[in-house]
Symmetry: C2
Protein backbone atom coordinates (compact mmCIF):
# COMPACT_ATOMS: atom_id res chain seq x y z
CA UNK A 1 0.00 0.00 0.00
CA UNK A 2 1.31 3.43 -0.89
CA UNK A 3 1.24 5.87 2.00
CA UNK A 4 1.93 8.98 0.04
CA UNK A 5 2.06 9.82 -3.63
CA UNK A 6 4.83 12.34 -3.48
CA UNK A 7 5.75 13.38 -6.97
CA UNK A 8 9.50 14.04 -7.09
CA UNK A 9 10.30 17.70 -7.60
CA UNK A 10 11.29 18.51 -11.15
CA UNK A 11 13.13 21.44 -12.66
CA UNK A 12 12.86 20.04 -16.15
CA UNK A 13 10.08 18.03 -17.76
CA UNK A 14 11.13 15.19 -20.03
CA UNK A 15 8.68 14.05 -22.67
CA UNK A 16 9.47 10.42 -23.43
CA UNK A 17 8.77 9.74 -27.10
CA UNK A 18 10.17 6.20 -27.35
CA UNK A 19 6.89 4.27 -27.63
CA UNK A 20 5.73 6.45 -30.54
CA UNK A 21 8.55 8.35 -32.28
CA UNK A 22 11.04 5.66 -31.28
CA UNK A 23 9.11 2.64 -32.51
CA UNK A 24 7.19 4.01 -35.48
CA UNK A 25 9.85 3.23 -38.08
CA UNK A 26 10.59 -0.27 -36.81
CA UNK A 27 10.26 -2.78 -39.64
CA UNK A 28 9.19 -5.71 -37.43
CA UNK A 29 5.67 -5.34 -35.99
CA UNK A 30 6.04 -4.96 -32.26
CA UNK A 31 3.38 -6.72 -30.17
CA UNK A 32 0.97 -4.39 -28.36
CA UNK A 33 1.89 -6.12 -25.10
CA UNK A 34 5.55 -5.13 -25.59
CA UNK A 35 4.58 -1.51 -26.21
CA UNK A 36 2.44 -1.50 -23.07
CA UNK A 37 5.19 -3.11 -21.03
CA UNK A 38 7.55 -0.41 -22.27
CA UNK A 39 5.13 2.36 -21.30
CA UNK A 40 4.61 0.81 -17.86
CA UNK A 41 8.36 0.54 -17.23
CA UNK A 42 8.87 4.14 -18.32
CA UNK A 43 6.17 5.33 -15.95
CA UNK A 44 7.70 3.23 -13.17
CA UNK A 45 11.06 4.95 -13.83
CA UNK A 46 9.41 8.30 -13.14
CA UNK A 47 8.60 9.62 -16.60
CA UNK A 48 5.47 11.77 -16.35
CA UNK A 49 4.87 12.42 -20.05
CA UNK A 50 4.96 9.37 -22.28
CA UNK A 51 3.89 9.68 -25.88
CA UNK A 52 1.92 6.49 -26.29
CA UNK A 53 1.02 6.06 -29.96
CA UNK A 54 -0.20 7.88 -33.03
CA UNK A 55 -3.60 7.98 -34.72
CA UNK A 56 -2.20 8.05 -38.22
CA UNK A 57 -3.59 5.80 -40.96
CA UNK A 58 -2.18 2.25 -40.65
CA UNK A 59 -1.50 2.54 -44.38
CA UNK A 60 1.20 5.12 -43.61
CA UNK A 61 2.45 3.85 -40.28
CA UNK A 62 1.55 0.16 -39.87
CA UNK A 63 3.52 0.01 -36.60
CA UNK A 64 0.91 2.24 -34.92
CA UNK A 65 -2.18 0.37 -36.22
CA UNK A 66 -2.84 -0.92 -32.71
CA UNK A 67 -3.34 2.59 -31.30
CA UNK A 68 -6.77 1.86 -29.80
CA UNK A 69 -5.45 -1.30 -28.11
CA UNK A 70 -2.49 0.61 -26.71
CA UNK A 71 -4.82 3.28 -25.29
CA UNK A 72 -7.08 0.63 -23.77
CA UNK A 73 -4.15 -1.02 -22.05
CA UNK A 74 -2.50 2.07 -20.54
CA UNK A 75 -1.76 2.02 -16.80
CA UNK A 76 -4.50 3.51 -14.66
CA UNK A 77 -4.12 6.85 -12.92
CA UNK A 78 -4.19 4.91 -9.65
CA UNK A 79 -1.12 3.00 -10.72
CA UNK A 80 0.87 6.02 -11.91
CA UNK A 81 -0.87 9.20 -10.75
CA UNK A 82 -0.48 12.26 -12.91
CA UNK A 83 1.22 10.57 -15.85
CA UNK A 84 0.18 11.91 -19.26
CA UNK A 85 0.01 9.77 -22.37
CA UNK A 86 -0.19 12.16 -25.33
CA UNK A 87 -0.84 10.76 -28.81
CA UNK A 88 -0.11 12.09 -32.28
CA UNK A 89 -3.07 13.14 -34.43
CA UNK A 90 -2.45 14.38 -37.98
CA UNK A 91 -6.05 15.38 -38.78
CA UNK A 92 -9.60 15.61 -37.43
CA UNK A 93 -10.32 11.96 -38.21
CA UNK A 94 -7.28 10.92 -36.18
CA UNK A 95 -8.25 13.30 -33.40
CA UNK A 96 -11.75 11.84 -33.18
CA UNK A 97 -10.37 8.32 -33.05
CA UNK A 98 -7.93 9.39 -30.33
CA UNK A 99 -10.70 10.98 -28.30
CA UNK A 100 -12.87 7.89 -28.71
CA UNK A 101 -9.92 5.81 -27.47
CA UNK A 102 -9.70 7.92 -24.33
CA UNK A 103 -6.77 10.23 -25.13
CA UNK A 104 -6.48 13.24 -22.82
CA UNK A 105 -3.76 15.04 -24.78
CA UNK A 106 -2.95 15.08 -28.47
CA UNK A 107 -0.18 16.47 -30.62
CA UNK A 108 -0.19 17.94 -34.10
CA UNK A 109 2.87 18.18 -36.31
CA UNK A 110 4.03 20.78 -38.77
CA UNK A 111 7.39 21.34 -40.44
CA UNK A 112 9.63 24.38 -40.81
CA UNK A 113 10.52 23.23 -44.33
CA UNK A 114 8.07 23.41 -47.25
CA UNK A 115 9.75 20.49 -49.01
CA UNK A 116 9.64 18.32 -45.89
CA UNK A 117 6.00 19.28 -45.24
CA UNK A 118 5.06 18.22 -48.78
CA UNK A 119 6.99 14.94 -48.58
CA UNK A 120 5.97 14.06 -45.04
CA UNK A 121 2.35 15.19 -44.80
CA UNK A 122 1.50 16.05 -48.41
CA UNK A 123 0.64 19.69 -47.95
CA UNK A 124 2.24 23.09 -47.53
CA UNK A 125 3.10 24.46 -44.09
CA UNK A 126 0.16 26.89 -44.29
CA UNK A 127 -2.23 24.09 -45.31
CA UNK A 128 -1.06 21.97 -42.39
CA UNK A 129 -1.80 24.79 -39.96
CA UNK A 130 -5.28 25.21 -41.50
CA UNK A 131 -5.82 21.48 -41.09
CA UNK A 132 -5.05 21.77 -37.37
CA UNK A 133 -7.71 24.44 -36.74
CA UNK A 134 -10.68 22.06 -36.34
CA UNK A 135 -8.53 19.78 -34.14
CA UNK A 136 -7.67 22.66 -31.82
CA UNK A 137 -11.32 23.77 -31.76
CA UNK A 138 -12.56 20.26 -30.98
CA UNK A 139 -9.87 19.75 -28.35
CA UNK A 140 -10.74 23.03 -26.66
CA UNK A 141 -14.42 22.03 -26.59
CA UNK A 142 -13.45 18.71 -25.03
CA UNK A 143 -11.03 20.28 -22.53
CA UNK A 144 -8.05 18.47 -24.04
CA UNK A 145 -4.52 19.82 -24.33
CA UNK A 146 -2.82 20.03 -27.70
CA UNK A 147 0.93 20.04 -28.22
CA UNK A 148 2.52 21.24 -31.45
CA UNK A 149 5.55 19.68 -33.08
CA UNK A 150 7.72 21.39 -35.64
CA UNK A 151 10.18 19.26 -37.55
CA UNK A 152 13.36 20.34 -39.39
CA UNK A 153 13.92 23.36 -37.14
CA UNK A 154 17.63 23.56 -38.01
CA UNK A 155 18.03 21.62 -41.23
CA UNK A 156 16.00 19.66 -43.74
CA UNK A 157 17.09 16.64 -45.79
CA UNK A 158 15.70 18.33 -48.93
CA UNK A 159 16.22 22.06 -48.35
CA UNK A 160 19.39 22.15 -46.25
CA UNK A 161 19.69 24.91 -43.64
CA UNK A 162 16.42 26.35 -42.34
CA UNK A 163 16.00 30.06 -41.55
CA UNK A 164 15.32 30.55 -37.81
CA UNK A 165 12.65 33.15 -38.65
CA UNK A 166 10.59 30.50 -40.48
CA UNK A 167 10.65 28.30 -37.39
CA UNK A 168 9.64 31.26 -35.24
CA UNK A 169 6.72 31.97 -37.54
CA UNK A 170 5.42 28.38 -37.49
CA UNK A 171 5.87 28.23 -33.70
CA UNK A 172 3.94 31.46 -33.27
CA UNK A 173 1.12 30.17 -35.45
CA UNK A 174 0.86 26.89 -33.53
CA UNK A 175 0.75 28.72 -30.25
CA UNK A 176 -1.74 31.22 -31.66
CA UNK A 177 -3.96 28.27 -32.62
CA UNK A 178 -3.96 27.16 -29.00
CA UNK A 179 -1.08 24.70 -28.60
CA UNK A 180 0.05 24.83 -24.97
CA UNK A 181 3.61 23.93 -25.95
CA UNK A 182 5.65 23.80 -29.14
CA UNK A 183 8.29 21.10 -29.51
CA UNK A 184 11.16 22.14 -31.76
CA UNK A 185 12.52 19.11 -33.61
CA UNK A 186 15.96 18.87 -35.15
CA UNK A 187 14.67 15.92 -37.15
CA UNK A 188 17.91 15.08 -38.93
CA UNK A 189 20.20 15.96 -36.05
CA UNK A 190 22.33 18.50 -37.91
CA UNK A 191 22.03 21.14 -35.21
CA UNK A 192 24.92 22.22 -33.03
CA UNK A 193 24.94 24.50 -29.98
CA UNK A 194 25.39 27.57 -32.20
CA UNK A 195 22.68 26.84 -34.78
CA UNK A 196 20.29 25.63 -32.08
CA UNK A 197 20.91 28.83 -30.11
CA UNK A 198 20.23 31.00 -33.17
CA UNK A 199 16.99 29.09 -33.77
CA UNK A 200 15.93 29.39 -30.12
CA UNK A 201 16.73 33.08 -30.07
CA UNK A 202 14.42 33.67 -33.03
CA UNK A 203 11.63 31.47 -31.70
CA UNK A 204 11.97 32.80 -28.16
CA UNK A 205 11.30 36.30 -29.46
CA UNK A 206 7.83 35.15 -30.60
CA UNK A 207 6.86 32.43 -28.10
CA UNK A 208 7.78 32.39 -24.39
CA UNK A 209 10.61 29.96 -23.57
CA UNK A 210 8.31 28.34 -20.99
CA UNK A 211 6.14 27.10 -23.85
CA UNK A 212 8.96 25.61 -25.89
CA UNK A 213 10.48 22.15 -25.85
CA UNK A 214 13.75 20.97 -27.39
CA UNK A 215 13.52 17.79 -29.45
CA UNK A 216 16.99 16.81 -30.58
CA UNK A 217 18.48 13.91 -32.46
CA UNK A 218 21.88 12.41 -31.80
CA UNK A 219 22.71 11.64 -35.43
CA UNK A 220 25.97 13.59 -35.21
CA UNK A 221 26.47 13.09 -31.48
CA UNK A 222 25.35 16.62 -30.62
CA UNK A 223 22.23 15.66 -28.63
CA UNK A 224 23.63 16.34 -25.17
CA UNK A 225 25.47 19.49 -26.29
CA UNK A 226 22.24 20.85 -27.80
CA UNK A 227 20.21 20.05 -24.69
CA UNK A 228 22.81 21.86 -22.60
CA UNK A 229 22.87 24.91 -24.89
CA UNK A 230 19.05 25.02 -24.82
CA UNK A 231 18.96 24.67 -21.06
CA UNK A 232 21.39 27.59 -20.78
CA UNK A 233 18.93 29.63 -22.88
CA UNK A 234 16.00 28.80 -20.61
CA UNK A 235 14.36 25.75 -22.22
CA UNK A 236 12.92 23.52 -19.51
CA UNK A 237 11.20 20.77 -21.51
CA UNK A 238 13.03 18.15 -23.58
CA UNK A 239 11.81 15.29 -25.73
CA UNK A 240 13.90 12.12 -25.78
CA UNK A 241 13.64 8.44 -26.40
CA UNK A 242 14.70 5.65 -24.05
CA UNK A 243 17.74 3.77 -25.42
CA UNK A 244 17.78 6.32 -28.27
CA UNK A 245 15.00 4.32 -29.96
CA UNK A 246 14.21 5.51 -33.46
CA UNK A 247 16.88 5.51 -36.12
CA UNK A 248 17.22 8.28 -38.63
CA UNK A 249 15.26 7.40 -41.78
CA UNK A 250 17.32 10.01 -43.67
CA UNK A 251 20.69 8.46 -42.81
CA UNK A 252 20.48 4.68 -42.56
CA UNK A 253 22.57 3.25 -39.75
CA UNK A 254 22.78 6.57 -37.94
CA UNK A 255 21.29 7.20 -34.52
CA UNK A 256 17.98 8.98 -34.00
CA UNK A 257 16.43 10.65 -30.97
CA UNK A 258 18.76 11.65 -28.20
CA UNK A 259 18.55 8.93 -25.53
CA UNK A 260 16.54 9.71 -22.41
CA UNK A 261 19.28 8.12 -20.31
CA UNK A 262 21.82 10.59 -21.74
CA UNK A 263 19.54 13.59 -21.15
CA UNK A 264 18.81 12.51 -17.58
CA UNK A 265 22.50 11.88 -16.87
CA UNK A 266 23.40 15.30 -18.26
CA UNK A 267 20.68 17.14 -16.34
CA UNK A 268 21.38 15.36 -13.06
CA UNK A 269 25.06 16.22 -13.59
CA UNK A 270 24.07 19.88 -13.92
CA UNK A 271 22.18 19.59 -10.64
CA UNK A 272 18.84 19.75 -12.43
CA UNK A 273 16.02 17.58 -11.13
CA UNK A 274 14.03 15.46 -13.57
CA UNK A 275 12.09 13.15 -11.23
CA UNK A 276 13.48 10.20 -13.20
CA UNK A 277 15.20 7.21 -11.57
CA UNK A 278 18.20 6.77 -13.87
CA UNK A 279 18.97 3.20 -12.83
CA UNK A 280 15.37 2.08 -13.45
CA UNK A 281 15.45 3.88 -16.79
CA UNK A 282 18.68 2.09 -17.76
CA UNK A 283 16.99 -1.24 -16.92
CA UNK A 284 14.02 -0.27 -19.08
CA UNK A 285 16.31 0.69 -21.98
CA UNK A 286 18.30 -2.54 -21.67
CA UNK A 287 15.07 -4.53 -21.72
CA UNK A 288 13.57 -2.87 -24.83
CA UNK A 289 16.94 -3.01 -26.64
CA UNK A 290 17.04 -6.76 -25.99
CA UNK A 291 13.42 -7.10 -27.17
CA UNK A 292 14.37 -5.37 -30.42
CA UNK A 293 17.61 -7.34 -30.69
CA UNK A 294 19.91 -4.35 -30.82
CA UNK A 295 22.52 -2.40 -28.93
CA UNK A 296 21.20 0.55 -26.96
CA UNK A 297 21.74 3.91 -28.62
CA UNK A 298 22.46 5.41 -25.20
CA UNK A 299 26.12 5.84 -24.29
CA UNK A 300 25.15 6.41 -20.67
CA UNK A 301 23.23 3.14 -20.60
CA UNK A 302 26.12 1.24 -22.17
CA UNK A 303 28.63 2.73 -19.73
CA UNK A 304 26.44 2.14 -16.67
CA UNK A 305 25.65 -1.43 -17.74
CA UNK A 306 29.38 -2.05 -18.36
CA UNK A 307 30.14 -0.65 -14.92
CA UNK A 308 27.62 -3.02 -13.35
CA UNK A 309 29.68 -5.78 -15.02
CA UNK B 1 54.64 19.65 -57.21
CA UNK B 2 53.31 21.91 -54.50
CA UNK B 3 53.36 25.59 -55.38
CA UNK B 4 52.60 26.90 -51.93
CA UNK B 5 52.51 25.42 -48.48
CA UNK B 6 49.68 27.47 -47.10
CA UNK B 7 48.77 26.24 -43.68
CA UNK B 8 45.01 26.64 -43.19
CA UNK B 9 44.14 29.20 -40.56
CA UNK B 10 43.15 27.68 -37.23
CA UNK B 11 41.25 29.05 -34.28
CA UNK B 12 41.59 25.82 -32.35
CA UNK B 13 44.41 23.31 -32.28
CA UNK B 14 43.45 19.65 -32.20
CA UNK B 15 45.93 17.19 -30.75
CA UNK B 16 45.23 13.84 -32.35
CA UNK B 17 45.96 11.07 -29.84
CA UNK B 18 44.62 8.09 -31.82
CA UNK B 19 47.96 6.46 -32.73
CA UNK B 20 49.09 6.45 -29.08
CA UNK B 21 46.24 6.85 -26.57
CA UNK B 22 43.81 5.26 -29.02
CA UNK B 23 45.81 2.16 -29.85
CA UNK B 24 47.75 1.50 -26.63
CA UNK B 25 45.11 -0.76 -25.09
CA UNK B 26 44.43 -2.80 -28.23
CA UNK B 27 44.83 -6.50 -27.49
CA UNK B 28 45.95 -7.47 -31.02
CA UNK B 29 49.44 -6.22 -31.90
CA UNK B 30 49.04 -3.66 -34.66
CA UNK B 31 51.72 -3.72 -37.37
CA UNK B 32 54.07 -0.74 -37.38
CA UNK B 33 53.15 -0.17 -41.03
CA UNK B 34 49.49 0.25 -40.05
CA UNK B 35 50.39 2.78 -37.37
CA UNK B 36 52.50 4.72 -39.84
CA UNK B 37 49.76 4.63 -42.47
CA UNK B 38 47.34 5.98 -39.85
CA UNK B 39 49.70 8.81 -38.93
CA UNK B 40 50.24 9.68 -42.60
CA UNK B 41 46.47 9.76 -43.28
CA UNK B 42 45.91 11.96 -40.23
CA UNK B 43 48.56 14.41 -41.39
CA UNK B 44 47.06 14.39 -44.88
CA UNK B 45 43.67 15.28 -43.34
CA UNK B 46 45.23 18.41 -41.85
CA UNK B 47 46.06 17.37 -38.28
CA UNK B 48 49.14 19.28 -37.16
CA UNK B 49 49.75 17.58 -33.81
CA UNK B 50 49.75 13.80 -33.90
CA UNK B 51 50.83 11.88 -30.83
CA UNK B 52 52.86 9.14 -32.43
CA UNK B 53 53.80 6.60 -29.76
CA UNK B 54 55.02 6.23 -26.19
CA UNK B 55 58.41 5.35 -24.77
CA UNK B 56 57.07 3.23 -21.96
CA UNK B 57 58.52 -0.17 -21.13
CA UNK B 58 57.19 -2.84 -23.53
CA UNK B 59 56.51 -4.89 -20.40
CA UNK B 60 53.76 -2.42 -19.46
CA UNK B 61 52.49 -1.43 -22.89
CA UNK B 62 53.47 -4.10 -25.46
CA UNK B 63 51.49 -2.29 -28.16
CA UNK B 64 54.03 0.56 -28.13
CA UNK B 65 57.16 -1.64 -28.19
CA UNK B 66 57.84 -0.54 -31.79
CA UNK B 67 58.25 3.11 -30.77
CA UNK B 68 61.67 3.51 -32.38
CA UNK B 69 60.42 2.00 -35.66
CA UNK B 70 57.40 4.31 -35.63
CA UNK B 71 59.66 7.33 -35.12
CA UNK B 72 61.97 6.20 -37.92
CA UNK B 73 59.04 5.86 -40.31
CA UNK B 74 57.32 9.19 -39.66
CA UNK B 75 56.55 11.41 -42.66
CA UNK B 76 59.25 13.94 -43.46
CA UNK B 77 58.77 17.64 -42.82
CA UNK B 78 58.87 18.09 -46.60
CA UNK B 79 55.85 15.86 -46.93
CA UNK B 80 53.81 17.50 -44.15
CA UNK B 81 55.47 20.75 -43.13
CA UNK B 82 55.01 21.90 -39.57
CA UNK B 83 53.39 18.73 -38.26
CA UNK B 84 54.44 17.75 -34.72
CA UNK B 85 54.69 14.17 -33.54
CA UNK B 86 54.85 14.27 -29.74
CA UNK B 87 55.55 11.08 -27.81
CA UNK B 88 54.84 10.03 -24.25
CA UNK B 89 57.80 9.60 -21.86
CA UNK B 90 57.19 8.42 -18.30
CA UNK B 91 60.75 8.82 -17.04
CA UNK B 92 64.26 9.89 -17.96
CA UNK B 93 65.07 6.53 -19.54
CA UNK B 94 62.02 6.89 -21.80
CA UNK B 95 62.95 10.47 -22.56
CA UNK B 96 66.47 9.52 -23.60
CA UNK B 97 65.16 6.77 -25.84
CA UNK B 98 62.66 9.21 -27.37
CA UNK B 99 65.38 11.76 -28.00
CA UNK B 100 67.64 9.10 -29.54
CA UNK B 101 64.72 8.13 -31.80
CA UNK B 102 64.42 11.70 -33.03
CA UNK B 103 61.46 13.00 -31.01
CA UNK B 104 61.09 16.78 -31.03
CA UNK B 105 58.36 16.97 -28.41
CA UNK B 106 57.58 14.75 -25.44
CA UNK B 107 54.78 14.50 -22.90
CA UNK B 108 54.80 13.55 -19.24
CA UNK B 109 51.74 12.35 -17.38
CA UNK B 110 50.54 12.90 -13.85
CA UNK B 111 47.19 12.26 -12.20
CA UNK B 112 44.88 14.40 -10.10
CA UNK B 113 44.06 11.35 -7.99
CA UNK B 114 46.51 9.77 -5.55
CA UNK B 115 44.91 6.35 -5.93
CA UNK B 116 45.06 6.51 -9.71
CA UNK B 117 48.65 7.75 -9.62
CA UNK B 118 49.64 4.78 -7.44
CA UNK B 119 47.79 2.24 -9.59
CA UNK B 120 48.81 3.72 -12.94
CA UNK B 121 52.40 4.83 -12.43
CA UNK B 122 53.27 3.36 -9.03
CA UNK B 123 54.03 6.54 -7.19
CA UNK B 124 52.36 9.47 -5.48
CA UNK B 125 51.46 12.63 -7.38
CA UNK B 126 54.33 14.50 -5.73
CA UNK B 127 56.79 11.71 -6.59
CA UNK B 128 55.65 11.76 -10.22
CA UNK B 129 56.32 15.49 -10.43
CA UNK B 130 59.78 14.98 -8.94
CA UNK B 131 60.39 12.26 -11.51
CA UNK B 132 59.60 14.74 -14.29
CA UNK B 133 62.18 17.30 -13.17
CA UNK B 134 65.20 15.72 -14.91
CA UNK B 135 63.09 15.20 -18.05
CA UNK B 136 62.15 18.85 -18.16
CA UNK B 137 65.78 19.86 -17.52
CA UNK B 138 67.09 17.56 -20.26
CA UNK B 139 64.37 18.69 -22.67
CA UNK B 140 65.18 22.33 -22.02
CA UNK B 141 68.86 21.66 -22.64
CA UNK B 142 67.96 19.95 -25.92
CA UNK B 143 65.50 22.67 -26.97
CA UNK B 144 62.55 20.26 -26.90
CA UNK B 145 59.00 21.09 -25.87
CA UNK B 146 57.32 19.15 -23.08
CA UNK B 147 53.58 18.78 -22.68
CA UNK B 148 51.98 17.76 -19.40
CA UNK B 149 49.01 15.44 -19.05
CA UNK B 150 46.81 15.21 -16.00
CA UNK B 151 44.42 12.28 -15.78
CA UNK B 152 41.24 11.98 -13.69
CA UNK B 153 40.60 15.72 -13.65
CA UNK B 154 36.89 15.27 -12.86
CA UNK B 155 36.55 11.78 -11.48
CA UNK B 156 38.63 8.73 -10.65
CA UNK B 157 37.62 5.07 -10.86
CA UNK B 158 39.00 4.56 -7.33
CA UNK B 159 38.41 7.86 -5.54
CA UNK B 160 35.22 9.13 -7.19
CA UNK B 161 34.84 12.89 -7.60
CA UNK B 162 38.08 14.91 -7.73
CA UNK B 163 38.40 18.33 -6.11
CA UNK B 164 39.05 21.03 -8.77
CA UNK B 165 41.66 22.62 -6.50
CA UNK B 166 43.79 19.46 -6.64
CA UNK B 167 43.75 19.56 -10.44
CA UNK B 168 44.68 23.25 -10.35
CA UNK B 169 47.61 22.49 -8.06
CA UNK B 170 48.98 19.69 -10.26
CA UNK B 171 48.51 21.85 -13.37
CA UNK B 172 50.36 24.72 -11.74
CA UNK B 173 53.24 22.42 -10.77
CA UNK B 174 53.54 21.00 -14.28
CA UNK B 175 53.60 24.45 -15.79
CA UNK B 176 56.05 25.62 -13.15
CA UNK B 177 58.33 22.74 -14.13
CA UNK B 178 58.31 24.07 -17.68
CA UNK B 179 55.50 22.27 -19.53
CA UNK B 180 54.33 24.59 -22.34
CA UNK B 181 50.80 23.19 -22.14
CA UNK B 182 48.79 21.10 -19.70
CA UNK B 183 46.21 18.67 -21.05
CA UNK B 184 43.33 18.07 -18.65
CA UNK B 185 42.05 14.52 -19.03
CA UNK B 186 38.63 13.32 -17.97
CA UNK B 187 40.00 9.79 -18.16
CA UNK B 188 36.78 7.98 -17.27
CA UNK B 189 34.44 10.38 -19.05
CA UNK B 190 32.28 11.22 -16.06
CA UNK B 191 32.50 14.97 -16.58
CA UNK B 192 29.58 17.08 -17.69
CA UNK B 193 29.51 20.75 -18.73
CA UNK B 194 28.99 21.82 -15.12
CA UNK B 195 31.73 19.74 -13.48
CA UNK B 196 34.13 20.47 -16.35
CA UNK B 197 33.44 24.19 -16.00
CA UNK B 198 34.09 24.06 -12.24
CA UNK B 199 37.37 22.25 -12.89
CA UNK B 200 38.41 24.73 -15.60
CA UNK B 201 37.54 27.68 -13.42
CA UNK B 202 39.83 26.41 -10.67
CA UNK B 203 42.66 25.51 -13.06
CA UNK B 204 42.26 28.73 -15.07
CA UNK B 205 42.87 30.71 -11.90
CA UNK B 206 46.37 29.20 -11.69
CA UNK B 207 47.39 28.57 -15.30
CA UNK B 208 46.45 30.78 -18.28
CA UNK B 209 43.66 29.28 -20.43
CA UNK B 210 45.96 29.59 -23.45
CA UNK B 211 48.20 26.93 -21.90
CA UNK B 212 45.42 24.43 -21.20
CA UNK B 213 43.97 21.67 -23.35
CA UNK B 214 40.73 19.74 -22.86
CA UNK B 215 41.06 15.97 -23.14
CA UNK B 216 37.63 14.42 -22.86
CA UNK B 217 36.21 10.95 -23.13
CA UNK B 218 32.84 10.10 -24.59
CA UNK B 219 32.04 7.27 -22.18
CA UNK B 220 28.75 8.89 -21.18
CA UNK B 221 28.20 10.73 -24.46
CA UNK B 222 29.25 14.09 -23.00
CA UNK B 223 32.38 14.59 -25.15
CA UNK B 224 30.95 17.20 -27.50
CA UNK B 225 29.05 19.00 -24.72
CA UNK B 226 32.26 19.21 -22.67
CA UNK B 227 34.29 20.50 -25.61
CA UNK B 228 31.63 23.15 -26.19
CA UNK B 229 31.53 24.20 -22.53
CA UNK B 230 35.33 24.41 -22.49
CA UNK B 231 35.41 26.40 -25.70
CA UNK B 232 32.93 28.84 -24.15
CA UNK B 233 35.36 29.24 -21.25
CA UNK B 234 38.28 30.02 -23.52
CA UNK B 235 39.99 26.66 -24.07
CA UNK B 236 41.47 26.56 -27.58
CA UNK B 237 43.25 23.19 -27.65
CA UNK B 238 41.50 19.82 -27.58
CA UNK B 239 42.80 16.26 -27.61
CA UNK B 240 40.78 13.68 -29.49
CA UNK B 241 41.12 10.37 -31.24
CA UNK B 242 40.10 9.55 -34.80
CA UNK B 243 37.10 7.17 -34.87
CA UNK B 244 37.02 7.47 -31.08
CA UNK B 245 39.87 4.93 -30.90
CA UNK B 246 40.65 3.76 -27.40
CA UNK B 247 38.04 2.07 -25.30
CA UNK B 248 37.66 2.76 -21.61
CA UNK B 249 39.65 0.20 -19.60
CA UNK B 250 37.55 1.10 -16.55
CA UNK B 251 34.18 0.30 -18.19
CA UNK B 252 34.48 -2.54 -20.69
CA UNK B 253 32.40 -2.02 -23.81
CA UNK B 254 32.12 1.71 -23.23
CA UNK B 255 33.55 4.31 -25.57
CA UNK B 256 36.81 6.12 -24.88
CA UNK B 257 38.30 9.31 -26.28
CA UNK B 258 35.94 11.74 -27.90
CA UNK B 259 36.19 11.20 -31.65
CA UNK B 260 38.16 13.76 -33.65
CA UNK B 261 35.44 13.71 -36.32
CA UNK B 262 32.87 14.75 -33.68
CA UNK B 263 35.07 17.54 -32.32
CA UNK B 264 35.80 18.85 -35.81
CA UNK B 265 32.10 18.71 -36.79
CA UNK B 266 31.15 20.57 -33.62
CA UNK B 267 33.82 23.25 -34.00
CA UNK B 268 33.13 23.82 -37.70
CA UNK B 269 29.43 24.10 -36.79
CA UNK B 270 30.35 26.81 -34.30
CA UNK B 271 32.22 28.62 -37.07
CA UNK B 272 35.57 27.74 -35.53
CA UNK B 273 38.43 26.84 -37.87
CA UNK B 274 40.49 23.71 -37.19
CA UNK B 275 42.44 23.35 -40.43
CA UNK B 276 41.14 19.78 -40.67
CA UNK B 277 39.48 18.36 -43.79
CA UNK B 278 36.51 16.54 -42.24
CA UNK B 279 35.79 14.31 -45.23
CA UNK B 280 39.42 13.14 -45.41
CA UNK B 281 39.33 12.55 -41.66
CA UNK B 282 36.16 10.45 -41.99
CA UNK B 283 37.90 8.36 -44.67
CA UNK B 284 40.85 7.89 -42.34
CA UNK B 285 38.56 6.84 -39.47
CA UNK B 286 36.66 4.41 -41.69
CA UNK B 287 39.92 2.88 -42.83
CA UNK B 288 41.42 2.34 -39.34
CA UNK B 289 38.06 1.06 -38.01
CA UNK B 290 38.03 -1.52 -40.81
CA UNK B 291 41.66 -2.43 -40.04
CA UNK B 292 40.71 -3.05 -36.42
CA UNK B 293 37.49 -4.83 -37.41
CA UNK B 294 35.14 -2.59 -35.51
CA UNK B 295 32.48 0.06 -35.86
CA UNK B 296 33.73 3.61 -35.63
CA UNK B 297 33.12 5.27 -32.27
CA UNK B 298 32.34 8.52 -34.08
CA UNK B 299 28.67 9.34 -34.57
CA UNK B 300 29.60 12.01 -37.11
CA UNK B 301 31.59 9.48 -39.13
CA UNK B 302 28.75 6.97 -39.04
CA UNK B 303 26.19 9.58 -40.11
CA UNK B 304 28.38 11.00 -42.88
CA UNK B 305 29.24 7.54 -44.18
CA UNK B 306 25.54 6.60 -44.09
CA UNK B 307 24.72 9.77 -46.00
CA UNK B 308 27.29 8.91 -48.66
CA UNK B 309 25.30 5.68 -49.06
Amino acid sequence: MKLLDLEPARDVRIVEVGPRDGLQNEKQLIPTATKLALIRRLAAAGLQDIEATSFVSPKWVPQMADHAEVMAGLPSQDEFPGVNYPVLTPNLKGFEAAMAAGAKEVAVFAAASEAFSQKNINCSIAESITRFEPILAAAQAAGMRVRGYISCVVGCPYEGAITPQVVADVAWRLRDLGCYEVSLGDTIGVGNPASVARMLEAVGARVPMAQLAGHYHDTYGMGAANVHASYQMGVRVFDSSVAGLGGCPYAKGATGNVATEDVVWLLHGLGVRTGVDLEALVDCGAWISAELGRLSGSRVARALLARRG
